[in-house]
Symmetry: C2
Subunit: 303 residues, 2 copies
């Protein structure tokens, strides 16, 4: 089971009625956050999931509306009593940006680990039982889309385990994917586990143009949270110029990738009511929702 909460849906600057775009993901009580613009700690407090269990902050790129909230959030984490390391993940430039921002948040009571992702390929990271992958997209500066997956192993074949004479006390280890040594014999998970089953995949993609390989990267996601900076097709040129997407462009990515559901986010401050333009996306991909601040969903394994 994975819970997600879209903390904000704005682009460029925080507004009185709209926090900056950011996604909080929770699994087994542990949390990770994608993007942390100015003020993100406020809707995070409103979400009510606490701060202390935040293990990682994934940054798409280093424009202020995606990262300026970092020092404040790190200090609030400190106030929450956190002492375990916090992982910061982002494209090249991470060390410079973090060191610049920590000028105003010195002496944190926990270590910070930096994972700089390459700007030119997919990279993988395993954390809190989740697989984090990132993919370079097309913006003014290096920018990453993220995918967070909770994988689901195949079904355990108890019949086979009994046939192989594996004591019941070792079954859990095999189910967790570990090899078991017992009385000089060795048992591998693949001897008793079926094919891996469909897990849960959540993707987050902003700020970018629709780019080659993006559909493959978000393929069959249960939830794609994707930017829709502009609703009106009349803004197509502006979208190209500023390297953002129209609602309809995000919807085409969702349709071609065969995702289950699309949430639009990162709306232009000029877009007062994103719902007004939603039909432009729904014509292309029906299961599209115009994101709103603090919108949440629990994703479970398909039965």
């Amino acid at each position: 089971m994975v819970d997600v909460c879209l903390l904000g849906t704005g682009g460029m600057m925080p507004l009185p009625e709209r926090w900056l775009s950011s996604l909080l993901v929770r699994c087994n009580g542990r949390m990770m956050l994608i993007d942390c613009g100015e003020g993100t700690q406020i809707p995070m407090k409103m979400a009510g999931w606490g701060f202390k269990n935040l293990d990682a902050i994934l940054i798409t790129h280093y424009h202020a509306d995606h990262v300026a909230g970092l020092p404040g959030l790190l200090l609030t984490l400190a106030n929450s009593g956190r002492q375990e390391p916090v992982r910061l993940i982002g494209p090249p430039g991470l060390a410079e940006v973090v060191s610049g921002l920590l000028t105003i948040a010195p002496g944190l009571p926990y270590p910070i680990y930096l994972y700089t992702c390459p700007a030119d390929g997919i990279s993988h990271l395993e954390m809190d039982g989740l697989l984090i992958r990132c993919f370079p997209v097309d913006h003014w500066i290096p920018c990453l889309a993220y995918s967070i997956e909770l994988r689901r192993p195949g079904r355990f074949d108890a019949e086979k385990a009994r046939e192989l004479d594996i004591p019941v006390r070792y079954w859990k280890q095999l189910q967790k994917g570990e090899t078991v040594e017992w009385k000089g014999r060795s048992f591998r998970p693949d001897q008793v586990m079926g094919e891996p089953r469909r897990g849960i995949k959540i993707c987050y993609c902003t700020d970018t143009r629709p780019v080659d390989g993006l559909c493959d990267f978000v393929r069959e996601a249960d939830l794609l949270v994707c930017e829709g900076m502009y609703g009106d097709e009349g803004d197509a040129e502006k979208a190209i110029l500023k390297k953002h997407m129209l609602f309809a462009e995000a919807a085409r990515v969702a349709r071609e990738a065969g995702v289950c559901e699309l949430w639009l986010t990162h709306f232009s401050p000029a877009l007062a009511c994103p719902e007004d333009w939603l039909s432009h996306a729904k014509e292309v991909f029906e299961p599209t929702i115009a994101g709103h601040d603090l919108m949440r969903k629990t994703l479970t394994f398909p039965s």
Copy 2:
């Protein structure tokens, strides 16, 4: 005439119902801001005075709750079309902090001028017709209280000007404090102007303990905006330890300095309803108000 708007009243971290402490001051259409914590640009937008005419940002000290909103605000100023220089004023360390924060706000379309104030004495600066003074207070790191004054010249003595045969077309120059040369003769303002009259003085003081010299610095201010981190006298030890003030301590400064009005601000996040503790200040200094976000006032010359 000077307008002030208390944008926020919180200390430590921005809350869903309370912005971080910050004061916006407007005179003759130009503005200056004291402190810029995370999210300050949001209540500034709500205040409705625009962004473009913001000429200076005065920072009391470099804790994140007073300065983390700087990169976002500077970018929003850029979006407002500003091209004139913006002055940043603060205690020693200004250049390092600004250069750290500008990592995420590169390429601003206007120049930034830095004025680093000494950490150990009063310094003066004239801007937008206002006199800005700062005074070192007592916190964990170098921290300044600020005073902003609109001075008022003496009354112009038309009788005397006529006696001296000064042509009417030069009267305005003399009223503005300039010397006039005419037909080989020289006229000084002090020949036609009375004693300077009481102007308007606004002081802003956070985060600090009550400190020697503070009363003199804020003496007879029309408005003192001062921190009151804790309301309960039971928090006296905590206030000493964390270098903050109780409501009653701020009230004692106001009374001893003979200010006209005291606004309390920079409340602890634990102080859900500052009004509940207001009587502790009012017993000491009756004209005390518990500040609230977006509280505003227009100060005029006494008639």
